[in-house]
């Protein structure tokens, strides 16, 4: 009975209720987006790191992968050390370098990764063949469009350029064998990959060096224990597991999360105020009606239940619309933010997680209960005789 009375009270002022629901929906959409933003990048980054199944990365001591131009010497020795551990299944040394591609009289700058195609975890092949031959190179669409080349074309690639003498060093002709998408690369980067020995051959200084090692552990093995073991065995590298990488990302994104949480809290508060205001106005308008209900024997607790239910109903309806609206706006905002220069294409700012949606819904319903408490208290505290007298005078 209380539920249907609460619903009927809301339906009685349709326009006002619809406007309030829309207001709560906007606040709910904002809240969901902020909850998604607060956890989205972190989760997205975690999924990105896990996408190729490499649980540990080794970077030069004190750095993050590709954070600097520093490299790790002794690829062969490190690989041999790592192979001693039975929990390590695969090792993929990666060498990074800047390259120049001479396209006619133009110089297109880009980056190249030297990899082992059998165990690489940096790109996905979209078309063509992988770098099975020493003179093969695979490139992303951005680089292809920059040099105006296609699969099968030969490119002149250099690893160094002296601006004073205007000469290139480490030049080699490489054949484009495939189109690839770099998992950690940005849309607007010209990126390529070749066999590691090819890239080493083009730059003597990088011989037997790697910018990064990616390590895949045996199924069921404890990645953290393997990381600790690597730290002990290889003092000149920093071993980063998914958990430590996430912790580092968390630290770097903390301001982002704080901003999202503050904006989310503001949205929730705005929704709360909106519902409180609406229900309080409704209670004031119905003071006489509530006094009559009390006079005919309706208990205080039942009046409170009805008013709180009104707040919850508005919040719930607003939350349902708001969650749908939040998903649409999150997708739109994600498109805008993903175009930010230098960010990996696979990173999502707003990652939908059912838990985030449930959290937002729960918070909104709780705020609906909270929003109903003040007007419900007012309604239940109305002096019956005095309210009836005021109504009669009015």
């Amino acid at each position: 009975m209380r539920g249907s009375l609460a619903l009927a009270s809301l339906i009685r002022h349709r326009a006002r209720t619809v406007l309030a629901v829309l207001g709560v929906a906007v606040a709910a959409a904002m809240l969901l987006d902020m909850v998604m933003l607060a956890t989205g990048m972190r989760e997205s980054f975690r999924e990105l790191l896990l996408s190729r199944g490499f649980e540990i990365r080794l970077a030069p001591k004190g750095t993050l992968p590709f954070d600097t131009d520093a490299t790790i010497p002794g690829v062969g020795a490190i690989t041999a050390t790592l192979r001693v551990n039975p929990d390590i299944r695969e090792i993929s040394p990666v060498l990074g370098a800047s390259i120049h591609i001479l396209a006619g009289n133009r110089d297109v700058s880009g980056s190249a990764l030297g990899i082992d195609p059998r165990v690489q975890g940096d790109y996905e092949l979209l078309s063509g063949r992988d770098v099975t031959r020493p003179d093969a190179i695979v490139v992303n669409d951005h680089l292809l469009s920059q040099v105006g080349a296609s699969i099968g074309d030969t490119l002149v690639v250099a690893t160094g350029y002296d601006a004073q003498t205007r000469t290139y060093s480490g030049q080699r002709k490489l054949v484009v064998t495939g189109r690839v998408k770099f998992i950690y690369g940005a849309n607007d980067q010209s990126s390529s990959a070749m066999r590691r020995e090819t890239l080493e051959g083009m730059n003597e200084r990088s011989r037997d060096r790697a910018s990064l090692f990616m390590v895949r552990v045996r199924k069921g093995a404890n990645a953290e224990a393997v990381r600790d073991w690597i730290d002990e065995q290889l003092p000149n590298v920093t071993a980063i597991s998914i958990a430590t990488a996430i912790a580092q990302v968390d630290e770097r994104l903390s301001y982002f999360r704080q901003l999202a949480l503050i904006l989310g809290a503001v949205s929730l508060f705005v929704g709360f105020l909106l519902v409180t205001t609406l229900v309080t106005v409704s209670v004031n308008e119905r003071a006489g009606e509530i006094a009559v209900m009390r006079a005919i024997g309706v208990s205080r607790s039942h009046v409170v239940e009805q008013i709180v239910l009104e707040g919850v109903a508005i919040s719930f309806a607003g939350a349902v619309f708001g969650l749908a609206l939040g998903l649409v706006t999150a997708r739109y905002l994600n498109t805008i933010l993903s175009a930010f220069p230098g960010l990996p294409m696979a990173i999502d700012f707003f990652l939908f997680q059912p838990r985030a949606a449930w959290s937002a819904l729960g918070l909104l319903i709780a705020s609906g209960v909270g929003a109903g408490i003040y007007p419900a208290w007012r309604a239940a505290s109305l002096p019956i005789a005095e309210s009836l007298r005021r109504e009669a005078i009015a």
Partner: protein
């Protein structure tokens, strides 16, 4: 405590009710003593501001006296807690107001059934009783109508049916014909007479001479006092 008079359904002893009005103290009732017998039909009359409605509110247990004692059906009601007073009103008092105060979102039948729902009467039983009461007040064919679809007289009859829904000991009415035209007012007066003839104890507060004359007894008030009972 038992009432002073065994057959009295309402017994007031030296009841005072003061209000604070800003810095002033208003003495709305100044030592009212009154008895209403079971099956009686009492009209409380007097000029505006003489304390009629205040007296009715005290009898209806929606207000508490500053001093004095009030017993309804042998039970002291002047110092009840809110919870006790609510339960007491639900089971013993039927209210009819000048402005009907039906819930506009409910049908006539639902309005009548509302106090029974509060009293936890089973749904089938309350629909049956509400239907019977609407027939009694002559609105058997208007059960599904909302208050906005009913005339003033019809709304007041629904309000009377609502007041009777839990079989109250006492029916209280505050200016029940105040918003009605003469013809419709006469219908309500006639309905009250029928109710009283069927055994309902009624106390009305009114300025309406016709309604007051239809009562068995008139209680005259002036300046917060009963001047002629």
């Amino acid at each position: 405590m038992s009432a002073g008079v065994e057959s009295s359904i309402v017994s007031l002893r030296d009841v005072r009710r003061d209000y604070a009005l800003g810095a002033e103290r208003v003495h709305a009732l100044q030592g009212v003593t009154l008895e209403v017998e079971r099956g009686d039909y009492v009209a409380i009359v007097g000029p505006s501001g003489c304390g009629k409605s205040t007296l009715l509110n005290l009898i209806g247990v929606i207000d508490q006296p500053t001093s004095g004692t009030i017993a309804i059906a042998g039970k002291r009601v002047d110092a009840m807690s809110d919870r006790e007073a609510t339960q007491f009103r639900l089971r013993n008092i039927g209210f009819v107001f000048q402005r009907f105060y039906l819930l506009p979102i409910l049908s006539a039948l639902e309005n009548v059934a509302l106090p029974m729902a509060e009293a936890k009467v089973a749904k089938v039983a309350r629909i049956e009783r509400a239907t019977e009461l609407l027939r009694y007040v002559g609105l058997g064919n208007r059960e599904r109508h909302r208050p906005s679809e009913l005339s003033g007289g019809e709304q007041q009859r629904v309000a009377i049916a609502r007041a009777l829904s839990n079989g109250p000991t006492l029916l209280l009415a505050d200016e029940p014909t105040g918003e009605l035209d003469a013809r419709t007012g006469a219908e309500i007066i006639s309905l009250f007479q029928r109710l009283n003839a069927d055994g309902t104890t009624i106390v009305v507060v009114t300025h309406d001479e016709d309604l007051a004359s239809a009562a068995r007894r008139k209680v005259h008030m002036r300046d917060g006092k009963v001047v002629d009972a």
